[in-house]
């Protein structure tokens, strides 16, 4: 059964029918938002059953769309939190990828701006490495990008998509060794992205992120995970009811190869390790439970089949 990421949008009336249907089909709901009279479900559903969901939700005016970014956590790396970068373009981009299903976090560097003075500290590095992908938003001058990029990428192990003011060819030329994705002509700007050409640029960024993530997905598929993070999410929700009291928008954040659990590490890590998933297999057997550098959260990294010899 191949699960594909989709977004369901529909009215609040009888939306529980759709929720039940997705769960009965073996799909997982990763995020659920209720906005006034509208419900948005970001979920993984079996590819062959999308037609069925469309059919059943038709009387409810529901709409099912592909969203390749569901189930990913993206770090939008902004050089600082000053007026120079916020709200445009950092927030615009973070918000745009969120609309397509990703969970985006803005990582702002303490000493990001400038050329010679730019730097990346260990906490920032570790936080970025906890994500599936890092989107670097740099400035308009190729001299500065060329000079500061080696410092800013030091120790980063996740794929990087680089956005900068110069043309894409120039970016490709000045970055050595190459990063995974480039988007040109998106540097610092001080106006809201609302014109058609600016929205096209945002689409270009999303397309590049999707392309890089697909590559990562392919490499994961070669050595599949012992358990799907979305399934793990359901199990944790069931076994640790305290998670339901967490007020964060996404108490359990699904990543491509893991999960962020927004509960204190010291109190819950042991309990989490001993959760039984199926047939006596515990979570600790097939995943690493690590302290996250983001607050005192827990990071669960699911191990691949080659290390555990189990797939559930």
């Amino acid at each position: 059964m191949m699960l594909v990421p989709v977004t369901y949008k529909g009215g609040i009336y009888q939306h529980d029918i759709v929720e039940d249907l997705i769960e009965d089909l073996g799909g997982y709901i990763v995020q659920k938002h209720i906005l006034a009279q509208e419900v948005v479900l970001q979920c993984f559903v079996p590819r062959e059953d999308i037609g069925l969901i469309r059919e059943i939700s038709r009387p409810l005016f529901g709409e099912v769309t592909d969203s390749p970014l569901v189930g990913t956590e993206i770090a939008i790396v902004s050089m600082s939190l000053e007026i120079h970068h916020l709200p445009h373009p950092s927030c615009d981009i973070a918000e745009y990828v969120r609309r397509l299903g990703a969970k985006s976090n803005m990582v702002s560097l303490a000493r990001g701006p400038g050329k010679r003075i730019a730097g990346l500290n260990d906490e920032e590095r570790d936080v970025i490495n906890e994500h599936d992908i890092a989107v670097y938003l740099l400035g308009n001058f190729e001299t500065c990008i060329e000079y500061k990029m080696p410092t800013l990428r030091r120790g980063i192990e996740v794929p990087i998509v680089l956005c900068g003011g110069p043309d894409i060819e120039v970016l490709k030329k000045i970055i050595d060794p190459p990063v995974d994705g480039y988007v040109g002509n998106v540097g610092r700007f001080m106006r809201r992205t609302k014109e058609a050409d600016q929205l096209d640029k945002l689409d270009e960024i999303v397309a590049e992120i999707t392309r890089v993530l697909e590559k990562k997905r392919d490499s994961i598929a070669k050595d599949p995970l012992s358990v799907s993070p979305a399934r793990l999410m359901g199990v944790i929700k069931e076994k640790i009811p305290e998670i339901l009291d967490v007020t964060s928008p996404t108490p359990l954040t699904v990543q491509m190869a893991g999960l962020r659990v927004k509960l204190p590490y010291d109190t819950f890590a042991e309990r989490l390790r001993h959760i039984e998933i199926e047939d006596g297999i515990q979570l600790g057997d097939i995943a690493e439970v690590l302290p996250s550098r983001m607050r005192d959260y827990i990071l669960v990294r699911v191990l691949p089949f080659s290390e555990t010899n189990t797939v559930i």
Binding site: M79, S80, E82, I83, H84, H85, P113, G114, K115, R116, I117, A118, G139, N140, F141, E142, T143, C144, G165, P166, D167, G187, R188, F189, M190, R191
Partner: protein, 194 residues
């Protein structure tokens, strides 16, 4: 950029310069400064790195009076002011309180102010000067130029006189002969530095 007589951004990287022209335009527009600036020349060299902005200001002669943003309806024993723009509401109330006393000034809602038995004619009230935008123009301009300049450039030298200004910023210690560079940029606009 119709209001500005001269506006140039000079940069060794043509594309970067173009984007910075857009940024400067957006920031000045956002801060309502386009009508204040007469000439502006920006020079950025990311290699040094240095950011220089030199310019000439226009004289702002207009002051904001009560009549500019409020309609006065005189009635028996009182005057009702209908406010169309809230921007200067707070300084206006402050002036009324000082001049007439708090007990004679009432504000039932956001857009209405009522004055009771004040010893003044509606004409006099209309003429009261509420704010002088030229007072804060230098402060606003420095803030705007800080927004335009690349963020890492935190070492600054700025001079703002009556009608001329220059703003130099860098992330390294500024060179001692920075005034030569400033004079050069002023010369491009056909002016001399302050």
């Amino acid at each position: 950029m119709l209001a500005v007589e001269y506006f140039e951004v000079e940069c060794p990287e043509p594309l970067g310069g173009e984007i910075y022209k857009q940024i400067a335009n957006d920031v000045l527009l956002d801060h309502n400064l386009l009508k204040v600036v007469d000439k502006l020349h920006i020079f950025i060299d990311p290699k040094v790195p240095v950011f220089v902005a030199v310019g000439i200001l226009r004289k702002i002669t207009t002051v904001v009076r009560v009549g500019d943003f409020a309609n006065i309806n005189p009635q028996e024993g009182r005057m009702t002011l209908v406010i169309s723009d809230e921007t200067y509401l707070a300084p206006m109330l402050k002036i009324f309180w000082e001049r007439f006393g708090k007990e004679k000034v009432e504000q039932p809602d956001r857009f209405t102010v009522i004055l009771y038995d004040v010893p003044a004619q509606p004409k006099d009230i209309e003429e009261i000067v509420v704010a002088d935008p030229s007072e804060s123009v230098h402060k606003d301009l420095i803030y705007a130029l800080r927004c335009i300049a690349p963020e890492g450039f935190r070492l600054r030298s700025e001079v703002f006189t009556g009608s001329k200004f220059f703003f130099v910023a860098s992330e390294n210690t500024l060179a001692e002969d920075i005034s030569t560079l400033v004079a050069e940029k002023f010369a491009l606009m056909g002016e001399v530095p302050p």
